[in-house]
Amino acid sequence: MLPLMVEVRLENVTHIYVTEKGLKTVALDDVSITFPSGKITGVLGPSGCGKTTMLKIIAGLLRPTKGKVYFDDKDVTDLDPQKRNVAMVFQFPVAYDMSVYDNIAFPLRIRGVPKDIIHRKVMEIVDILGIDRNILNKNAKGADPGLRQKIAVARAIVRDADVLLLDEPLTNLEPLVRIELKTKLKEITQKMKITTIYVTHDQAEVLTLAERIAVMNIGKIIQYDETTRVYEYPIHEFVGYFIGNPGMNYIECSLNEEKSVLECKGFEYTLNRNEVEVLVKYGKEFKLGIRPEHIIIDESKSDKGIKGKISLVERIGTAFLYHVEIAKETTIIAKTYKQIGLREGDTISITLPKDKVRIFDKKTGYRILP
């Protein structure tokens, strides 16, 4: 049986925490967002940006200070969590003090599902998640975090919930288990077509799992779009910096007197007339953004491009990161998978492909071009 697909909609939701001493913290600030039915949506943001608060409001564990929550067209703002048919998996694996089998069967038993159906469903999910059938009778209390999290996921999906909320489910797991469970989650969510909201601060997880992502910061949704759009066209410099490994490079620039080029630290960036027309409306100060993987390192050592000295070479996985000092206190990071044998101290020239350069307003941080 496929669960009913439900669209989750938040309308002008504000949530304010009040401490005992009367201090107020705004966790969510007038958030409106729609999570499409039957799809995985990622929610990304630094710690304390309000991600978990938003999930708890969707689950009904918190009642928003202001605003409404809708499941399809039904207003569920005041509905108890017990009545929402939402499943949630937390960062810290939650398993009850009972056997692995009982843990997974528990949500169905509560609902009075017949025994043979429970057994069939539990076994089905045990096999999907790759839980060893021999350990089903062991107590979940002593299990390792990886297995406990699998149990938690199994319990969440066994009962055909309308909405699945995942709150950093992989953060506390060992790397190998993390990769395994990530693959399983992708398989399951694609097969089950359940509305899934995946919250994390690890972008690598979200980029592989989600079709659309919402990037949050300080209680607001900064950008909500398809994953590739968020990556290619960050709406705000925060998004460009937060998404990407490492994030976007930013170089401070100002429009010159003749209004023809951007004078950046270490180089000049030529503008065409249309671009200038747009930019002048925003004043003179800008930030030029470029992703490290889009920078082209000129191996021919020609005179073209921006000259700079390599101050540091890093490796992340199979990639190399070159920290290139192009002016005093201005360093650009270039990322490449090619082995080009450059060392710290070498002088190189780099070019910034025009179609990959984004220009942001220095004052507000929002993208202006393109």
Partner: protein
Amino acid sequence: MRMKTIINIVIIAIIALITLFPLYWLIITSLKSYTEIYANPPYLYPPNPTLQYYIEALYKFYGLKYLTNSLVIAVTNAAISTLASLLAAYAVSRFNFRGKDNLFFTFVSMRMAPPAIFAVAYYYIFCRTLGLRDNILALIILYNVFNIPIAIWLLLSALEAIPKDLDAVAQLEGLSHFKILFRIHVPIIKGTVAVSYLLTFLNAFNEYLFASFITSTEARTITTALQGMITVAGVYWSQMAALGVLSALPGIIIAVIARRYLVTGLTMGMV
């Protein structure tokens, strides 16, 4: 290393001797006759052990009745106070309500004053107002006043250690608060619940002060019965010792059964 072990054993043996000797003396006294008790030099063992004084204590001095009273009071009271405390601790731990902190302080502060302070008040409440003089019901109710704070304090720290995420998941799975408490939390903290039951049981079973003025004959408890063996006609040492041994038994049995829980109950494991 071996030297250290020997010293340890010697120290433990001395402590055990100091702790257990009075108990040993109680037991041999219960088996000795009046003249044997007063013999000089004293016998370190009963020369002619007899169970006669046990029989006398139980039947002639109504020991059986008083023992039953004490057990009924303790079993019932411990059950009531543990259950009530479980609910109260859950509320304090999981809900926010006005005056929560003060409420908890009020509970605990009841334990700080010497119980005798409340004696007159309780005498009026139970004997005059409620008319429960010499009724075991009075003690079953009264002991809650002293047992509930201890049990709340014990259970609250155990409940606080259970992550709130567990409640959240259970709530989303459709469980009411009662079910969360009894089906999810209680299995996790069962050790602490057991400790709470046993401690409140012992408190109720061992209580003397209030039992002595609220009860007289019908509802008399074992602790006050012991006092009753000091009469104008003399002290019935052997029978008193026999009843003493019997009244010490529940505590000893509990300590043996719950040894594991008593040690680990407070440092309970968490899922």
